[in-house]
């Protein structure tokens, strides 16, 4: 877990996520793992800002787009990558894959790949926190969750029972110009902005620009502290603009891996990517800002990036080298050990 407000740590945390996801895409293209998967490129600043506020008693809930949340929470990239490849070295020895990845020891007890599915669970964990008098819950979910009854019921309970939970809605489908103003239209929800929904349930809400790492840090710093001290729920809508590599059904790397030079004068060949980088990439925008302000030098950033790349290359090697679980492991963990009598 990173230290708060340290630009180097923040950049390193974002870079690690981005480089991890790129390796994930490359491994998939290489046929190294079956099935669908989702990457967090373009949303890194959110997980990084939120998890910077959390301690060991706190819980994190996520969904199918969980790699960034887990990394920011401190999960080991090699074990994560092994899990994604269905290997015995993974956190669940290959039983969860990418979609349901969980790390109990880091307060991520379960991950649902059902839209809205984690929210009732997160609400229950917040109930446990309240009972135990320690810890808060941060629940990450996508904008589509607001179309699910489960989400609505979970928020009703959190509001009624006064639970220490921060609902983090990562709305990743907003055109850049509308990130600040709201009033975007959607084909699936007629609300002028998503925060109107939880507000109607008597939950205090806020919206924040997902491309602005500083704004995110300020916002999560305040909201997590409020949830902690007041013990009541908050809802934050993080407004992001989708990374072009996430438009195809399967993620792709437009113009190859992300380049540090793109933050400093160079530009990729593809116009859509160039525009996205300039307007909506939280990593690039933060790097520019922090280097201009003298918080970090380009060389320092370069070194952090090299370290992240090397770490993720190691994770890939670990995952590829890890054996598959033995077939008889399919029968393990159907039920937890227990006594049969009182």
């Amino acid at each position: 877990m990173q230290r708060k407000n340290d630009p180097g740590e923040r950049v390193a945390a974002m870079l690690r996520i981005r480089r991890f996801e790129e390796q994930c895409i490359l491994l998939s293209k290489d046929g190294q793992f079956p099935g669908h998967y989702h990457v967090y490129i373009g949303q890194e600043a959110t997980a990084v800002a939120a998890c910077a506020e959390l301690g060991t008693d706190d819980f994190v809930f996520s969904n199918w787009r969980n790699h960034g949340h887990l990394l920011a929470r401190g999960a080991a990239p090699d074990r994560m990558m092994a899990e994604i490849l269905g290997k015995a070295g993974g956190y669940a020895r290959g039983k969860s894959g990418t979609l349901h990845m969980a790390v109990r020891e880091l307060g991520v007890p379960a991950t649902s790949a059902l839209v809205g599915g984690s929210l009732p669970l997160a609400t229950g964990a917040a109930l446990a926190c309240k009972r135990q008098g320690r810890g808060v819950v941060v629940a990450f979910f996508g904008d589509a969750a607001l179309e699910e009854g489960a989400c609505y019921e979970a928020m009703i309970l959190a509001s009624l029972w006064k639970l220490p939970i921060l609902f983090v809605c990562e709305n990743n489908s907003i055109p850049p110009a509308q990130r600040q103003r709201g009033q975007y239209t959607s084909s699936t929800l007629p609300a002028a902005q998503l925060v109107d929904v939880p507000q109607a349930l008597q939950i205090r809400t806020e919206a924040v620009d997902g491309a602005d790492a500083d704004a995110l840090a300020e916002c999560f710093d305040r909201l997590v502290a409020e949830v902690r001290s007041e013990g009541t729920p908050r809802f934050v809508e993080v407004r992001c603009t989708r990374w072009p590599g996430n438009f195809p059904l399967w993620p792709e790397l437009p113009c190859g891996q992300w380049q540090l030079d793109w933050a400093f004068g160079q530009s990729p060949d593809r116009a859509d990517l160039a525009t996205w980088l300039e307007q909506s990439d939280p990593l690039l925008l933060y790097l520019r800002k922090i280097v201009a302000a003298g918080g970090l030098t380009r060389e320092q950033v370069q070194a952090l990036d090299e370290r992240a790349r090397a770490e993720m290359a190691g994770a890939v090697r670990f995952a590829l080298d890890s054996p598959f679980p033995a077939p008889e492991e399919a029968y393990q963990h159907v039920r937890a050990e227990q006594g049969a009598t009182l």
């Binding site: 009854g149 609505y152 009624l160 007629p190 929904v197 109607a200 349930l201 008597q202």
Partner: protein, 328 residues
């Protein structure tokens, strides 16, 4: 509101009484063990059913809840067949298969009551969508309680109705309770109408114990919906004068609360209004008498009606035979 024609007011008076007396018979016979199950009475909430259904044609769709008797009668279903269903007879609306909580009178647009709280909401959206697709001018109305707003499907349906601009009227009968739990305890949200706001679904909270208020609000809402302006929600503040079900000891309500309830009685309020207008008491008593004997006759006839033949128990499982039906 006061310029309603006299025959309309008398009509309301008659309908309110019909439901009140009908429910009285259900209660009386349930106490004698003649009504299987635990029927839920709409006593005290009659004005909502009457005021809303006044604006519906026979072919408009009505979806009701577990507290359904009033809606079905106000929609114009036959009291005899309705009562026969409630006591499980072959002549009942559903041939005795459904009972109090599952009344269906499809020919009269009553698409169904449901025993599952909030189970009717999305079905109503579907019917409204069909009407919209066919362009046949019908609308759908769904009655539900304040308790149903805790269910996720309520929120999902508000969203769909607004998104697709469906000809659907949501009617929430907010009687302040879900079973034995008061609304203050089971929800943080004071007004049900507030749930509709995020979806830009026009909603208002009205006095549901005044049939004239309900009538006027429903008239405006139905007119708007028929004009193609999309769904609306009416939250009708009302009061359940009976227990949650017949047999409920109501330990959760104070004496004061039960006493104050008298003042909310929708029948008394309409009677007061008519008296104030100078309508003769004799006229009102004549209506009461007529309805009483009509309901009484329907109930007695239903009590004499045959029970379904057990040999027919396999009927109606499928609307067309399965190609490889195994014996049951």
């Amino acid at each position: 509101m006061t310029d309603l024609a006299l025959d309309k007011l008398y009509g309301f008076y008659e309908q309110l009484w019909r439901i009140r007396l009908f429910e009285g018979h259900v209660q009386r016979l349930a106490a004698k063990g003649e009504v299987p199950g635990f029927p839920h009475l709409s006593t005290g909430q009659e004005a909502v059913a009457v005021g809303v259904c006044a604006h519906l044609a026979a072919n408009d769709y009505v979806f009701s809840s577990h507290r359904a008797h009033g809606h079905v009668l106000a929609k114009g279903s036959d009291p005899y067949a309705t009562f026969a269903e409630i006591i499980g007879r072959q002549d009942g609306l559903c041939r005795g298969r459904g009972g109090s909580m599952h009344l269906v009178d499809a020919a009269n647009g009553v698409m169904g009551a449901t025993g599952v709280v909030a189970g009717n909401l999305s079905l109503a959206a579907g019917a409204a969508w069909a009407a919209q697709a066919l362009g046949d001018g019908r609308i759908a109305v769904v009655f539900f309680g304040d308790g149903a707003t805790g269910a996720g499907v309520f929120h999902e349906t508000l969203n769909l109705a607004s998104l697709w601009q469906l000809p659907l009227l949501f009617v929430c009968e907010n009687n302040g309770y879900a079973e034995f739990t008061s609304r203050e305890e089971h929800s943080k949200v004071a007004k049900v109408s507030a749930f509709a706001a995020p979806y830009h679904l026009p909603a208002e909270t009205i006095d549901g114990n005044d049939v004239l208020v309900v009538n006027a609000a429903a008239a405006a809402a139905v007119r708007s919906i028929r004009s193609g302006a999309g769904p609306r929600l009416l939250e009708c503040m009302t009061y359940r004068m009976a227990g949650h079900y017949v047999g409920d000891a109501q330990r959760y309500r104070s004496k004061e609360e039960l006493a104050a309830m008298k003042e909310k009685d929708p029948i008394d309020r309409l009677r007061a209004h008519l008296t104030q207008r100078g309508e003769p008491a004799a006229e009102l008593e004549a209506i009461e008498k007529r309805v009483a004997s009509e309901v009484q006759a329907a109930v007695e006839r239903a009590r004499q009606a045959a029970r379904p033949d057990p040999a027919t128990v396999l009927d109606y499982v499928y609307s067309q035979p399965l190609s490889t039906t195994a014996e049951a």
